[in-house]
Symmetry: C2
Subunit: 343 residues, 2 copies
């Protein structure tokens, strides 16, 4: 492998000049610049990343810390992050699927020195764990995190609003017994969606019933399980709202198996609007989340901080969600709904 010295020797200049050409820093005469470029190309010179980041203390790499991932949602987020990062010339160090908290913290420590900034999407992690395992000044953005500490930048989606809008829509269709399949325990998105569900009921003067709030963990299987139980209730709900689409799909499957027709006997709605939702039978109503955009925005936020000379003000942003009404929750599509669907 050719080093900067080899190039310098071959081009008859000093390493300083070569460095200036490579990084386009400092003045170099046109003639020299051209010659060095040629030599560098010919010798296939690639600057040694380690040496460079040893002296500059920068890596042009961003770290991404994810929870144990669930399907489509995950790949969409990563994709958004990846695109934004590449656009800015940054690389991505990804660490996912951490079983427990100790593992997450270990992964966090391992990022030290390898990244210039970090995007963290990990529900079970608190602020203390963060500051204890990371260098002080590492730019950080929390994605859909439960941490409400203003000390951190954070990006979230309208979980509460989206959930309550969906439940209000169901109420508007005449449903009074509306069940909810909750998301993973201790997950921020999950609890916000639950909160939205409860708020919508309350606002409509419908009393909350614990037998209608079933547990789930965002997997199809757990959705299936929960709906199977709901189908057996003496006093069956007429609608069920799942905290994500995967569970909604599992629920639809359970209802079919139990001979409950959708949406006539039970309306079903999900959250996320993953691509497959519209291809379900019947097509699944959901709350659209700009998943890819979430990743892109997070990347831009963290890059802003990476590049900022001075410590910036903390930022908190929330991305809007949109109701997407399809036939799984029945009711004739109103003009308003149709418009939404067209989006």
């Amino acid at each position: 492998m050719a080093t900067i010295k080899d190039v310098a020797r071959e081009a008859g200049v000093s390493v300083a000049t070569v460095s200036r050409v490579i990084n386009d820093s400092g003045p170099v005469s046109g003639e020299t610049r051209r010659r060095i470029r040629d030599v560098a190309t010919r010798m296939r010179f690639t600057p040694n990343v380690a040496a460079r980041s040893l002296i500059t203390a920068r890596t042009t790499t961003l770290g991404v810390l994810l929870p144990d991932l669930y399907g489509e949602f995950f790949s969409e987020v990563i994709r958004g992050i990846d695109q934004a990062a590449r656009r800015n010339g940054y690389h991505l160090l990804v660490s996912s699927s951490h079983a427990d908290r100790a593992e997450t913290e270990a992964a966090l420590r391992a990022m030290r020195g390898r990244v210039d900034g970090l995007i963290i999407m990990s529900p079970d992690l608190d602020a203390r764990a963060l500051v204890h395992n990371l260098p002080e000044r590492l730019p950080l953005v929390l994605l859909n995190s439960a941490i409400n500490d203003v000390a951190f930048d954070a990006l979230t989606i309208q979980n509460f609003r989206g959930a309550s809008a969906m439940v209000r829509h169901l109420i508007g269709l005449g449903h009074r017994r509306i069940a909810m399949i909750r998301g993973a325990a201790r997950n921020h998105d999950a609890s916000e969606r639950l909160r939205g569900y409860r708020a919508a009921l309350k606002r409509a003067g419908i009393e909350r019933q614990s037998e209608l709030e079933r547990t789930g963990d965002f997997t199809e299987e757990s959705g299936y399980q929960a709906a199977a139980e709901l189908a057996l209730l003496r006093h069956r709900p007429t609608a069920v709202f799942a905290a994500n689409d995967s569970m909604a799909i599992g629920a639809m499957s359970a209802l079919r198996d139990a001979g409950v027709s959708i949406p006539d006997e039970m309306a079903v709605a999900g959250f996320d609007d993953i691509p497959i939702a519209r291809y379900m039978s019947p097509p699944l109503s959901s709350v659209r989340v700009p998943i890819g955009e979430l990743g892109e925005r997070a990347t831009e936020m963290v890059l802003d901080k990476v590049r900022a000379k001075t410590p910036q003000v903390r930022r908190r942003e929330t991305l809007a969600t949109v109701l997407v009404i399809r036939s799984s929750c029945g009711g004739s599509a109103t003009a308003d709904d149709a418009r939404r669907r067209a989006q």
Copy 2:
């Protein structure tokens, strides 16, 4: 940030000794070792990764190059890779969603010096592009690649076998007009699955018809489109085999919209057996691919090469696929099928 020098000074030893303790290389007396450990912990010393990899020329990082990703398949692969990598103390530098070949090659070059080994899953990339953009000796494993050059290690799945088994199953159920929705052009998995389809037809003495081989690109949308067209054919097929589950799901949606009942009027089958397949209505028959295992195995293969002192022999492995028969392709489940389903 504390450096090794700080620790050495504080512990009253030389940096060499500290290094020996940190890396557990060379002899250090028990007493000294303990003292250095204490000091290092107290000062929160973390070895500087850049300095370390500058001198050792290793990064304990693996690169992963992926095509523009499609949903669940992708996240499962990454997860497998991630788990195997972590288990071995390696990090993951991920680069995905490359629109064209130039972008892929750029990503490839950018990996130089940042990784000790590389897992590549990119259909449109040939052997020349690889050797031209990478250092000579970088351990490399190709995943489901079209490159048949024996110069590279490769890992594939039984695309041909899985596809032909599924089509034979359909034929066994009495179907003679079986359509296929093809995968993305120039994609290796896609063409192998097509080959399997054709081979099964041929073996059964069924003549191939071009109007039954529809194009697709692995997305739900393309599956929908293809099936919508099939439904309109004068002489409609009685079964359709999609090159992946996403398209099969899109196809099922189109058939429903066209009023074609599944499986009575048309049987449907997919490939991959993504988690959602079994929750479809009706549950989707598919060919199970050990996706996570694919990632894990690839990681182990590349790590073997990374750690090997001497250049190893080239390896090529193929992972088995399994037929998973559900009700979307009708027919009473035979004992054999039932056994398979239980898996």
